[in-house]
Assembly symmetry: C2
């Protein structure tokens, strides 16, 4: 990013932010096991209004964290949805109180497999219990309790974030006034499971993984980098890759190794893989992808049955060239909402980016979100019609 | 396969076949290096007619071999395109003389990285030179010389086989009367390169790969299995995976390991990976995928310019749900043929299978091929119009 771009972005920035931590006594997980205690890392921007009616919960995707906007002291990178969150932006911090937390099972401050197991005083590793998307949402509910929020104005997120949004809808319908699931699915297709599975296999095939017991030793960086490379292919589209890389070859000073990264796209993938391992924990990758694969929001029942009677407004957003979470999966959500009588809008954004579009296709997405939010917020302001 | 299916298939079978070997003095490769000597493994079925006008060359995809039809003595599996090749089938062995050879760089009898390097008397490993699709075709040309075939009735193949078909068209247009490229591309897109690259990375990340010098020791089976798993996802389609696996879970007798293959699709991928390593060499995987990625049939020139003046008939076949080699890539081939004045037909088969459809969608494919071949063959029979 150039200095100029950085300055421009910082103009509507929430500024320097800090990750805070909320620890509670623990949680009985969906699978019946107990996790004691639990810490959730989170950030908030803006102020909760007197009526406590302006709280927005943003939930992140597989590799995200609580740092959704602004910049950390001494760091260079803005939060992962910086362009959407800030003064005057789609999630307008002058209007709304924004909350974003790192998911349970993560490695950015929330309790996960790299956390210390109080029973052994060593990192959990594979002793960490299998968690679900519902468990992540249960932790977020505790967090909003802690923050004094009885009803969220909205809960939103893309990809795995969207799964959490759907889970909020089912588990705590009376705690949300609206929801914005983006580029997501009510359950993974076998193709989505398959891509996650090869990522997991890549990690577990790395001898440095050592059955998950690698903390304090060399981490399975090759396996994790490979998982990330596979992921990155699925986040882009055939078209966006062609536009960005073509068949451009990299310049090599010397006669290269036979299987070096000849093409730009190969270099890009290796770079993404190598960068990822510096900031992510391999076991978290296993636990979180497994939670995604096991997610099935309505279990055996039709979704529209489960949704019946819920008083929430929904904005469903999908992207045309997203082939990892194809638009048909978002349409299923919108259809189920309508069948159940929920007020739902479906918008498909015509972006050449693939799944990554929810992080990149900002102008149209920001427009949709900002209008939707204003409408939901304004209705409350006028009628004060929801019970807190 | 049930006994009944097996009997039915064997009814129109070429029967028990044998792989033969043809060794020649060597080859100057496209990159200028010399490979001395070269052995090519091949099979033939049917008889070359007196006019030597009925020879059909079938070229294989990434993991194929010379054994395209029939069964090997003491083995259980039919050749890889058994349903297309045999008496009365699309490639009718009562009519045509069928040739199929293992590619240069392969591991099924042709010279490749697992072959003995005469200079060191040890397997080549990474001392094997980088090969190209053109080099594979040059070897096939030597083979048809050896078999006394001056002009092939057709050359055909899917996927990487299709690349060889296109290369035949450019390199030896006077040696082929027609060509059937199937589910292929004139060059790989960055997405196609990317999938191959993660496969290569998986192999090279396996410590048992040892810089390619693993012969006589444990092979990098985990890495190769992983590469194959990634490949398999790309060979199927979202729909065909959904139809075949859904979200069906596997039955586990005991409480399973946390990251075991819970879903059918996971078990399927692991099975495919584990099976593949028994029959394929990891270094061959590296060399062959690199040849595919480097392939660009017309180099910097427009394909229709390069094709101008070539007297050949072309049948281009693509499959609707093939997202690895999408139909638009096959249309490019047909368009270039037409622009250059070549008689070309484009057919898109409406199959739910993805890229694998060329091996599975047999009825329609067989129909197209059989009619096309008859027409080309009959024209010769009537006019005897091509010079041998």
């Amino acid at each position: 990013m150039t200095m100029k771009e950085k300055t421009k972005l910082s103009e509507n920035s929430v500024g320097v932010t800090q990750t805070k931590h909320f620890t509670f006594e623990g949680l009985t997980l969906e699978n019946g096991e107990k996790l004691v205690p639990v810490t959730i890392a989170y950030e908030t921007y803006g102020d909760l209004n007197e009526e406590k009616s302006n709280a927005v919960l943003i939930v992140h995707a597989l590799s995200g964290d609580a740092h959704v906007a602004g910049i950390h002291e001494g760091q260079n990178d803005f939060g992962w949805w910086h362009s959407m969150v800030g003064p005057g932006k789609a999630f307008d911090t002058n209007q709304y109180f924004i909350i974003c937390s790192n998911v349970l099972g993560g490695c950015k401050g929330s309790t996960g497999p790299s956390s210390i197991n109080p029973r052994t005083e060593r990192p959990y590793g594979l002793d960490f219990p299998l968690i679900s998307i519902g468990d992540m949402v249960d932790c977020q509910r505790r967090l909003i309790d802690h923050l004094g929020v009885k009803k969220l104005l909205t809960v939103t997120g893309g990809s795995m974030g969207g799964m959490q949004v759907l889970s909020w809808l089912i588990r705590y319908p009376d705690r949300i006034r609206s929801a914005i699931p983006i580029a997501t699915a009510i359950k993974h297709s076998p193709q989505q499971i398959a891509f996650n599975e090869v990522g997991r296999q890549a990690i577990m095939a790395d001898p440095q993984w050592r059955g998950g017991d690698y903390y304090g030793r060399s981490a399975p960086t090759k396996g994790l980098a490979l998982a990330r490379m596979i992921g990155h292919i699925t986040y882009m589209s055939d078209i966006s890759m062609a536009e960005r890389f073509g068949r451009q070859k990299k310049n090599h000073d010397t006669h290269p190794f036979k299987f070096t990264a000849d093409f730009e796209v190969e270099g890009y993938l290796r770079y993404q893989g190598d960068n990822f391992v510096k900031r992510f924990d391999a076991n978290s990758y296993l636990y979180i992808t497994k939670a995604m694969d096991n997610f099935d929001v309505s279990q055996k029942r039709p979704l529209h049955d489960v949704l019946k009677g819920i008083d929430t407004k929904i904005l469903v957003i999908a992207f045309k060239y997203d082939w990892l979470y194809p638009a048909y999966q978002s349409k299923e959500i919108a259809r189920a909402c309508k069948l159940s009588g929920i007020e739902a809008t479906y918008c498909e954004i015509d972006s050449i980016y693939g799944h990554d579009a929810f992080l990149l296709e900002l102008k149209e997405e920001a427009h949709l979100v900002s209008h939707f939010l204003k409408k939901v917020f304004f209705e409350y302001e006028v009628t004060g019609s929801y019970d807190t």
